[in-house]
Symmetry: D2
Subunit: 405 residues, 4 copies
């Protein structure tokens, strides 16, 4: 461990990261700088200031920031351009937030002369990897402290006892273990652990926090229109919105209609399977809308290449390699494909469903003249198909002739 003196901590203001802050001071003898970000998790972040102050952290070492627009614009939207879903389903809501937090941690370390960063992720999960790979990629000489991998406060009791012994206030509902653990931001809320650990057991109702039960959603569908420019959403029902505003508005819609619940057993980068419950109301709507607009604006060659690259791209984000040359290379390819992904998608929301029911674009590649069953006025010569098939078949025929033997 290098000789360090000041550390920037990803600080939520909650019990766990308060204990970490104190532990870094007491056990490690470090000056602690706190960084608390609003990524749209739906909790006030200002209270973190008083809590940090109460632990003796000077005002100039308390950073509290609203990153919602940066998060939506520079992380969520670029990822959505790729139609990224990990293992076929997961919209990467937690994975995509970590690089941004690390980026700010490293930047604040530079500003404050800190030589280390610290985070509250455990040693079993993906988040430690995502935080740390991002940090190392941005500052190769930074030191990372992950108290959960190091200390012995591994039971709830031990943690609470330590907190109280060190004058950290323990809210009543935090004394015992919570029945599951969550992470939330503008894109999603994830829940895992405890009551979710048996993948055969259905997720209890109380786990959901972000969406109404589809059974309780409105009995009539709601139709909306999302506008896209260069592959990014820019409007809802013709009202122009910023990336974070659009995502927030779609979250409201998704919540109401019970959209975006996902019960998944996934493969962690550290090697084991875990079961998670994700709620991605706005993200699910957005993702489907994006595919909808691509359907008429993206060339087949571009679309199929994107589909083939997507699993790799999603894996990179899931595994924490957002700041890597290969993710950036894939992004360059993907972004180039989005130049004409402009237009409007009409979607229907209903009791957990989101259906694309219409799409139009000034840059459409859909040619009614070519596809029509009616007279196409010579747009397409059906006889061309004969030659097309013949030459595509040639190698198969040569093969069949050989193997007939």
């Amino acid at each position: 461990m290098p000789d360090i003196s000041r550390v920037v901590l990803a600080y939520s203001g909650g019990l766990d990261t308060s204990v970490i802050a104190k532990w870094l001071m007491v056990e490690r003898g470090l000056e602690v700088v706190t960084f608390t970000a609003d990524l749209g998790q739906g909790e006030e972040i200002e209270p973190a200031r008083a809590k940090a102050r109460a632990m003796g952290i000077p005002a100039e070492h308390i950073f509290i920031e609203d990153l919602r627009e940066e998060f939506a614009r520079d992380f969520v939207f670029p990822m959505m351009r790729a139609n990224a879903r990990y293992e076929g389903d997961y919209l990467l809501g937690t994975s995509i937030a970590r690089p941004l937090i690390s980026k700010r941690l490293v930047e604040i370390a530079r500003e404050t002369g800190a030589d280390a960063i610290a985070h509250g992720a455990t040693g079993k999960g993906n988040d430690q990897v995502r935080f740390e790979l991002s940090a190392y990629a941005l500052d190769p000489d930074i030191t990372v402290i992950a108290p959960w991998r190091e200390w012995n406060l591994t039971s709830r009791t031990a943690l609470v006892d330590w907190a109280e012994a060190h004058q950290i206030q323990v809210p009543k509902d935090k004394r015992g273990d919570s029945p599951f653990s969550t992470d939330a931001n503008l894109l999603h809320t994830s829940s895992e652990g405890k009551v979710l650990e048996d993948p055969w057991e259905e997720t209890p109702d109380y786990v959901y926090s972000r969406t109404v039960d589809p059974q309780d959603a409105p009995d009539t569908p709601e139709t909306i229109e999302i506008g896209f420019e260069c592959g990014d959403g820019v409007s809802l029902n013709a009202e122009r919105l910023s990336p974070a505003e659009l995502l927030a508005a779609l979250n409201d819609l998704g919540r109401r209609h019970g959209i975006g619940r996902l019960d998944l057993v996934e493969n962690r980068f550290v090697g084991m399977k875990s079961r998670g419950m994700y709620e991605t109301p706005g993200g699910e709507i957005y993702a489907r809308a994006h595919r909808g607009i691509e359907q008429i604006t993206l060339d087949r060659g571009a679309a199929h290449l994107k589909d083939e690259l997507m699993p790799r791209y999603a894996e990179l984000i899931y595994n924490g390699f957002w700041f890597s040359p290969e993710r950036e290379m894939l992004q360059a390819a993907i972004d180039l494909s989005q130049q004409s992904v402009n237009g409007t998608v009409r979607l229907k929301l209903y009791k957990g469903n989101v259906w694309v029911v219409g799409r139009k674009s000034p840059n459409t590649l859909y040619s009614q003249a070519h596809v029509t069953f009616e007279d196409d006025a010579g747009a397409y010569d059906q006889k061309d198909a004969a030659g097309f098939i013949k030459l595509n078949a040639l190698r198969l025929r040569l093969l069949a002739r050989r193997d007939r033997g």
Copy 2:
């Protein structure tokens, strides 16, 4: 055109293929052998016999066969093992049926001494490609006749006039153009053309034939369990079913709950975009169940490789290359991965939704001991994560050091 004398026609018994049968006799001077298959399209196939007889085709040249089990077992299920979806969504219901039809056409040609086959697909679509690539791959010397690419009966009026001039009965509802065109089998019903040609316009209600409107579906969810062995479905709610029986039972469930509707603009192999409406009620349920059971039984390396290969695999089937070395190579890889894909998936069906809500397996790879937030009794050493991250980060740090300037 080689010198041919007898042709096997994919014959539905409907007006169009009846005209083709007659046209092949009259205009081409060929003996016609008809082949009518039950692939689960939901129409009687026996009536085709009398129609063929009425055109003068001898009994021994009329082939009427129930291929539902072969279709489900040897085509649909192997494809489902791959989690194949074309362009992210389409479950390939039409694409996967064509190779089987071609296989039987070629086999019947051999049995009856025919030297050609014929089909009723147009020159603008994918089906001509699928029929013909399959046929050529199975018999490199077969001749394929595609009347729609050759004749001049391109308007409905011309077709109807020709039919009547040649003593083919024209049902009243077939006199005019139908407002859309369909294809159906055990896996799906597809609709395209005419009223669907504007991708901005919502699909009219009357297009749907295979599913109830989700709004009219039951107000309470239904929970089912599907059993899997070696990656294939084998039971529904603990009742053992054959592949075709399972798919049929899932179709009933999907229909009732309004599951599997898909409005898609897709890229045809022949180069243009088209808009289709697919209803795949049972297939949608099955596909999600299969992913569900894979979640706990498939190793990450296998799962991610499958995800990366899938778009290519789906494209091959869509484009008509079922009988190709590369599809068979991918199938060999996929099938190998399915050996332990055994177990049961619990799903909830509700107004268009199908959710995996539980999965269990005698071959589960999910290890509660490893993932638990509780004490794991040494199953996993969190300190290993530090080294894991350090070495994964090494190249990124060397890069950052170089590029820091």
Copy 3:
């Protein structure tokens, strides 16, 4: 066939394209514009002017251009950034030249008000596809005339007779069939057909035109150094050279040392296999040098992604899809990776061999401190490897435990 009046012909000045020019005038009644390019094929292009004039083509419709720099800079070098080799070996010398010719054909058509282009490629080869896909991608309304697919001058005698009947001078050595056919440009010379048609027979000595027999090459190796900037070669032995100059200088070196001969049976896009003999003296040296400089300047993630994308990229170029969204997407990814591919590679040339024997770079990622067997002063903690391996092994162990039975 649309109604056209003026056509731009890719004109070499040789007998075949002279016949085509005349045929377009006589049989098609078209005005012919000729385009003759110096792509480094090693033949004078000026004589084409007089020949075109002799056929009555007005001076302002005769285009003669030196495209060597554009060819090297905008086509060969970008392709080399990808380390592209088709089917493991072929450096795509012919494939990469076609898009540039088509680009100029289409541009000249615009300048001269022509509505069609014509080329002298046959209906069995890849070049027709490359010419035409490029042309259509650049001008969707252009008409393409490919006389070899249309006329009946399919034997040498018929062609010569037609030429003489139309006052085209036939050089003595062109009266009979040549024993093989060639294509040449700055990157390579390819030979195919006739004496090369049996893939078991060794290529006769007289086929080679671009390289000395390695047995006749100098008995002592020659060492050279090539400098790279952003992935492109910029100097030879410290002398700064333009792209075309560098390629020409490497061709001289390769010729002398018998480098770059390749006897290949390849798969054509049109479906059959063909056997070709390629000589790519400078290209082979350049390709190996590029890999050499990448070895120390490219991150592993970038390098492996490039290697995985390369076969697809090479296939696109081979098949004629240079001007396609997917090639451009891949190029964007590849180009991004080349920003720090700077430095110098030392190579040894000897009797057909080209070996990388040294590489250095101001942007090297090679860290002697990390790799050394000596004391590394803490650059690398060997204990990290234990955790790295443990977590990489975790999924394999869970799998082994399950499958142990």
Copy 4:
């Protein structure tokens, strides 16, 4: 560290692994079982017996085995079917040997009731990963001891001193550091470290041990023929040979002609770049021959799929994932493709070069009738190419029309 009592050591009989054996006894208090394998490294393995005995290891705990045939047949040949080259060049000579050694270590552990294995690989390299991943995949409960990551004998002096203090004989030439480190087996000899650590410096002559300097190789080429069945080499110059015999014979040929030298800077799995010198004389000949026979026997679809999968496959072997589901899936796909890879390849060996100059096969897909410039008697209709191109161009034309703006 679990409680273990007996360990199987990969024992070469050399100084380093002798020290490890003793160290495991003395410092760890373990019973040591030695395993010494002949993988074709060209050194006697019998002497290891006496050395083990001299350290007090009982005869029944000394395993000495000739694994050359198993190595060639079950590891090298399957890998060669894939045309595997890591980072474009490296034939994976070291990587492919490790899984076999681990397999035997684990099997011997079972036979002898040992609960651990040990190896002599350092903490900086790939071999530790390969040994351990293989071992864990075959026995999830095995303990692995890697003394180089644990002890403090990190300088040559310390090691030698410890050896002498423990009655291990130190050969004179092992007292000092060797100028580079090597690994050898039937497939290759690799050298790295010390004098090779500067990638700009040319490899000194004395590093080569497996091949003559191409300059000293015979002045006349030698032509050979290799026979293949199902993708595996079976004969040399018509003489039937076992896999190991064939590889040995090709090694002799390659040595004489100076074939298979490779100077490479490669990316290690543990994160840094290293520079190695490989000599793979027989492997280089074999690899080119295999590609040669595939050229005429493999369908394009199969060949291109193989080319796209190869980098991933090679990376898996390099990284130590031979015993992984994904490698086995890829192998299943590759093996399926080799069923008709039969025939004979003629090659010319000359001063470092190996050229394929002819290939023939009873299963050839090369059709002279299709490719010929002569009259092809109707095998191929050139007019088909027009339709083929038109439909391949359709999407590009629609795109160009849209973007013309």
